[in-house]
Symmetry: C2
Subunit: 327 residues, 2 copies
């Protein structure tokens, strides 16, 4: 049996298509990029050759020349989280619709991983980065060689940040608990060392509490914190958790202690992702406009990529109070 060309399993390249179609390399490139004059007949011939040979243009070669990859890097703690899972879904979706692909990076909130991802994305010549995971102080963010947008995270002095209206959300949540008659309301938040807009949730909580002449008291989530809260505050009757997962842990612990929700204790969370709404519909929460956040973030990034300027740095999108059975 002859070892013909067709048997050799090597990638088909533009030259092969040109040969097959009996035209020049340039003509094939013209067909691919729709430039210059091309007759319908030739176009068809070339397309047929591409079909026949199962040709896929090498985007790497193209990227190298045009100095653009149409790839966006996404750096977030993890897809294994209802909120980020939904956010990343939308980010990818919107990007795809606009002709961009996404490289996914799960930083797990670790600075070292984030740093090496950042380096990796730059090596890969991504056109821009959207990041929602962050420990401020990573030098590379301050010296951005790259279009950059943060989601719910300050990345550097002049990097745009998109977030839900955290202050308003915190206000709505706290106010609801007060309106429902809670006297001893406690707030649980993530690590406050992070300089994130999400801290505004706590700020709003504190402000509203003081306005109503209550004493604000915040705990930071961590090992056994929820147990501690119940132990240290026997008269607790309201909890504002800064995300729904924390809220669900609170509910679990309350159940274990036979504390009745909402009769004895009212609970409200934050995020309101689709999955949480589906699996835990009874939880009251402040819902973030996830799709709108993703939309805006991508838009702002593309603006930067296209060299358009935009002076506004902080973008806050309205939240929605969802009252359910836990309040």
């Amino acid at each position: 049996m002859k070892n013909t060309n067709e048997n050799v399993n090597q990638k088909v390249k533009l030259d092969d298509v040109a040969n097959e179609a009996g035209v020049s390399k340039t003509t094939v490139s013209r067909v691919l990029n729709n430039r210059g004059y091309i007759s319908e007949k030739t176009r068809k011939k070339v397309n047929e050759a591409m079909e026949l040979l199962n040709y896929h243009p090498n985007e790497i070669a193209r990227s190298l020349f045009i100095n653009k990859t149409f790839i966006i890097g996404l750096i977030f703690p993890t897809t294994n989280n209802p909120f980020y899972g939904q956010l990343i879904f939308h980010l990818e979706n919107i990007s795809e619709a606009l002709g961009y692909k996404v490289l996914l990076c799960n930083s797990e909130g670790r600075e070292d991983k984030e740093k090496s991802y950042l380096e990796m994305l730059q090596r890969h010549q991504v056109d821009g980065i959207i990041a929602g995971s962050h420990n401020r102080g990573i030098l590379e963010y301050d010296n951005p060689q790259l279009p950059l947008v943060g989601i719910d995270r300050y990345l550097s002095e002049n990097t745009p940040v998109v977030s839900s209206d955290n202050y308003d959300g915190g206000k709505k949540a706290t106010q609801l608990l007060i309106d429902k008659g809670c006297k001893k309301i406690i707030h649980i938040n993530g690590s406050p060392s992070l300089e994130t807009p999400a801290n505004l949730r706590r700020e709003a909580y504190e402000d509203v509490m003081k306005e109503n002449e209550y004493y604000p008291q915040s705990y930071v989530i961590g090992e056994n914190v929820i147990e501690t809260i119940f132990n240290e505050n026997p008269n607790i009757d309201g909890i504002f958790a800064s995300d729904d997962l924390i809220a669900s842990s609170v509910m679990k612990e309350a159940k274990r202690r036979n504390i009745n929700i909402p009769a004895d204790l009212k609970v409200i969370g934050y995020d309101g992702s689709e999955i949480t709404r589906m699996l835990l519909p009874e939880l009251s929460t402040i819902q973030q406009p996830v799709k709108e956040i993703a939309d805006l973030a991508v838009q702002l990034l593309l603006k930067q990529i296209n060299g358009e300027t935009e002076s506004k740095i902080e973008w806050k999108l309205p939240v929605k109070l969802i009252e359910s059975e836990t309040t």
Copy 2:
């Protein structure tokens, strides 16, 4: 003010590093790739130059030459789902540890999207693809130019598939309901038109039912199906849902109808992802070994990428029955 080189905002390239360090292009490349002889002194000089200039080697140029990108494509319905979110997290994590990056594709289960993603990934010269979303019949999968691994999906005759032991899972779930005394057990599954190993869950259900001389009855999930099930089967006392989200919908509907779980109706799901366990711990379920699935899938893909052969096609990993309050 002079417009020195430093002011020009252009990407630093290998040549610049060479100039800065006062060595040749080749030497810099040798440092980068650790080949040939290099003195410590020179290595240091070069590294300092890279640091100083904030140099990031252009991986695109490198990929083009070595004909390898170290990128893996992931095609799944959506990250906005606890199971896929967790799976994708692990896939990315493991890949990263092995020096690969991932391009994320949310197919939404749509054939057209999947097709265009497949094409896109080939253009981008990914080294391989792991796919868990699929409508069989996409030609490209049958004619793979590319290393390929399926998760819970048959992609083509000889593409490796990794999945949980669906048959055993279906058996365990059904048997549990029977053991708990259910008489009228109904199964709800996803679209059965898909040729997926997950169909074995239904098969096991049917087999176990018949063995115990019960009449198996399956519904396909869709608009209002759950309501229909309750309406058509007033004496129903057991439901095996082929995933936890469906199970949670069943629970919701039961609550609406004041049907007590588990007294009047027992429910068991499938997946047992971390998020579901956290938000809906009361649900009994069959837990898939997500991390192990991801691990194996990546391993099998890398084997293909490295040209090693592996004749085993179907890989089944053991599931775990989690008994909770709904049974």
